[in-house]
Amino acid sequence: MATGTKRDTERLERVVIRFAGDSGDGMQLTGDRFTTSSALLGNDLSTFPDFPAEIRAPAGTLAGVSAFQVHIADRDILTPGDAPDVLVAMNPAALRANIGIVPAGATLIVNIDAFDDRSLAKAGYSGNPLTDSSLSAYTVYEVPMTSLTQEVCKEAGVKPRDAERSKNFFALGLISWLYTRPIEPTLEWITARFGSDNPVAEANTRAFRAGYHFGETAELFTSNYEVRAAPFEPGEYTQITGNQALAWGLLAAARLAGLSLFLGSYPITPASDILHELSRRKDFGVRTFQAEDEIAGVGSALGAAFGGSLGVTTTSGPGLDLKSETVGLAVNLELPLIVVDVQRGGPSTGLPTKAEQADLLHAMYGRHGEAPVPIVAPRTPAHCFEAAIEAVRLAVTYRTPVIVLSDGYLANGAEPWRLPDLSTIAPIDPAFASEPNHVDEDGTPTFLPYVRDPETLARPWAPPGVPGLEHRIGGLEKADLTGNVSYDPANHEAMVHWRANKIAGIAKVLPDVEVDHEDGAEVLVLGWGSTYGAITAGVRRVRGRGLKVAQAHLDFVNPFPLNLGEVLARYPKVLVPEVNLGQLSKLVRAEYLVDAHSLNKVQGVPFRAAEIEDAIVKLIGGTL
């Protein structure tokens, strides 16, 4: 890249950038490319794609605004940032939809070409915010992105209307200059994605370079910025989203267990990317089945598990509703089954593209009868890899369905991930039954499908194909040991207890919940799942103010780790932040009689660190 006017480069520790535009403007792509070049630069980062459920809401309207927020830093960070330092707004609707979360003093970079009367009216502006004084608290840069893009694309061989579509690359080029990102990864990506002889590649390349040059040469910006590499642990890194990590974790788990992976799934936002990713992995022997409905998704997975495969189904809340009946059957059959629920806002169709943690009690209790199921909850996008493996380990070892509670925020959010040394992950033993386990009164060896392992209380997994082990299982209550149908009252009670004790007993092999303790702390903040980043960032801020606070985070929500009761008892005050109306807090209150304070938010967006900080400070001060 040619060097233009020499400008000062200021060093920043961190910056939060929010790209916002119309659904068709390619903001997700723009954010994603910026993220990748930042990852390659060695920044720590966290992303928050925030898009509408509609594929293309009417252009220029508030409903159609799609945004991508990325937080980059030269130190380790935990959230996509509470509030943007920079908002890139491609049209008036994008400005209007996002300005509410942009703090005073922040920078706005707007595509001035899109601020015509018609677009302003569509966004609901009666005047032009750029010409009245409503944005006086911000530094506003007006850049004619559309016209400059059209100008440089004239000779790219694309039609003028198509040229206009490259304006997101102009914006990307400009922001890349402003934050001194390397340009090569993006140029290479454009060529790889569109093909070197494709006019679209040429247009995007020209627009990207033009944006970069504009920053450099226009006398608009007084300086640009650098955010240096963060001090990471040595190792090899990649950038990963939660859904991708989960899919890869399932692949790794299947390999660790020596099992074939079968995914029965029905497309649903925000879980579908797991189905997409695994569908591409035929070379791993993965069988993916796009079922006729959610019920068939889980049914086929259970059928595969009966046959000795690793049966998995992936869904979101509405699908979990439909799968409940089959999960209950799996509880009764005592077969391994993985149910991934990528939670979204509910009830009903709710907010398909927004995150919520409100399926916890559903996962816990959403089946008729006494039907306990272990629950695993990843805490960050990359942690989905490990969570998937641990879920499979529990399912296979204990012959039980396991529910993994991810959410839309983890699913689509990205972070750097230090690649694990796969050889250090303990294998998983399916321990298939291979011979009779009992001898009849007349001396004939027989197979009893409900004999239990004394340690795990798990029954044998005996897929069809082994002579002498033929047996029938089903949803009707089983007689202990034989598995025959039994209506005997005492047997039913015994079986209910067996199943409950088996799941409760998993706690014996779970790691203790770790406490990030500070001497003198009177408040413990307890979380689960995707609130980890915001809670940890909030705790850091509180400590930065010289206050004492302790933090613990649950990766296993059912059963609870054995030491949780003792940990909760250590602190006079417990705060439980959740993106629901207080579901974990109900569980710990019921289980441990602890007077937990519930901090709730149900706006379809994650907690901000400041909100956690504020609640902790108030609780310490006795005003919450």
């Binding site: 390659l40 060695g42 090899e236 890194y237 079968f262 049914g299 002579p467 029938r472 089903g474």
Partner: protein, 338 residues
């Protein structure tokens, strides 16, 4: 692989007491299956009976094979996961008209159109038995039951038409009063590659006794059952005096052979790719009170779903080698921190 052991009905019979109502048509179907299996050249340990819920769904408990009594209507979905991951197994589904066509209708049609390797025996008694006598999706219109005291107003399904409409590659009908016919039909269904659908007219002597008597009783059969034999003109009657012809508008009708001549009769062609004739045959009788075709309506060779799924895996591995997890984790942009 050792030779397939010689077995008898006893080997295929579990130690569980059969608990259908005395006189239920299910007994004769169970006997037909248990007596047929020793002749099919299959292994007990490689045979799986799956079911949903209903009287028929108790069937797996009585078979000394692997089995699962699952949930209402879901057996085809569960069988799809099993059959596609375990092509070495013989997967049978035993279901009823309520299980297969009401709560499980969606799974049935999709299993059929995908052509997943499974043999579906649907016992049709035109009534809900296990829940004690409500009308079913195959009950005739105006049926008076506990839940329809003023008569049902629903148009019933024609299961054979439904299966053909769902792209089924094997569709047949038999009845519980004729063991030989059942066994021949089940054998054909078992040997079919892909999804095979068999409707079995089955008498529920408690809640819908005699529903098929007009056509299946010993003295009615000759005149009321129209046997479908591939490659043969379709005719029936004690002296084969009646037959089926196709009118110029495509409609099938029953005629006296003497009046039209044998050459005018429709010759049954179960392997015809176009399902039109099979569908027309399924519409020949409006219910089991007039001459009704039995036998194999349609038996065509289509790719089997599990085989196709496996083929994609083999091709992907031939192209790219067996999946390398270490390489996959590095398939995006990576960077190294020293």
């Amino acid at each position: 692989m050792t030779a397939i052991p010689v077995t008898t009905r006893k080997d295929w019979t579990s130690d569980q007491e059969v608990r259908w109502c005395p006189g239920c048509g299910d007994y004769s179907i169970l006997a037909a299956v248990q007596m047929l299996l020793p002749d099919l050249g299959v292994r007990r340990e490689s045979t799986v009976f799956l079911s949903g819920i209903g009287c028929a769904a108790r069937f797996p408990y009585y078979m000394n094979t692997y089995g699962m009594h699952s949930i209402h209507g879901r057996a085809p979905a569960i069988a799809t996961g099993l059959a596609t991951t375990r092509p070495d197994l013989d997967v049978w589904i035993v279901t009823g008209d309520g299980d297969a066509l009401s709560i499980g209708g969606n799974h049935l049609i999709h299993a059929l159109r995908r052509n997943v390797n499974m043999t579906i025996l649907m016992f049709n008694n035109q009534i809900y038995g296990l829940t004690k006598g409500q009308y079913s999706p195959t009950s005739e219109i105006s049926k008076v039951t506990k839940s329809t005291p003023f008569g049902s107003i629903d148009t019933p399904f024609n299961p054979i038409s439904l299966a053909i409409g769902a792209e089924a590659t094997f569709v047949a009908r038999t009845h519980d009063m004729d063991r030989g016919h059942m066994q021949e039909t089940f054998r054909r269904a078992h040997d079919h590659k892909g999804a095979a659908f068999v409707e079995v007219y089955q008498n529920c002597n408690v809640f819908n006794d005699g529903a098929f008597e007009k056509i299946t009783s010993r003295d009615a059969r000759a005149s009321m059952l129209i046997p479908l034999v591939h490659g043969e003109p379709i005719r029936f009657g004690a002296d084969l005096e009646r037959g089926v012809v196709q009118r110029s508008d495509g409609h099938l009708e029953m005629v006296e052979v003497a009046e039209v001549g044998e050459g005018a009769l429709v010759v049954h062609d179960e392997v015809r790719e176009d399902p039109g004739l099979a569908f027309a045959l399924s519409r020949l009788a409006s219910g089991p009170h007039e001459p009704t075709p039995i036998g194999v309506f349609r038996a065509v060779e289509h790719p089997e779903y599990g085989e196709e799924m496996s083929r994609q895996i083999v091709r992907a591995q031939e192209r790219a080698g067996a999946g390398d997890l270490e390489a996959l984790l590095r398939s995006g942009s990576t960077w190294t921190i020293e």
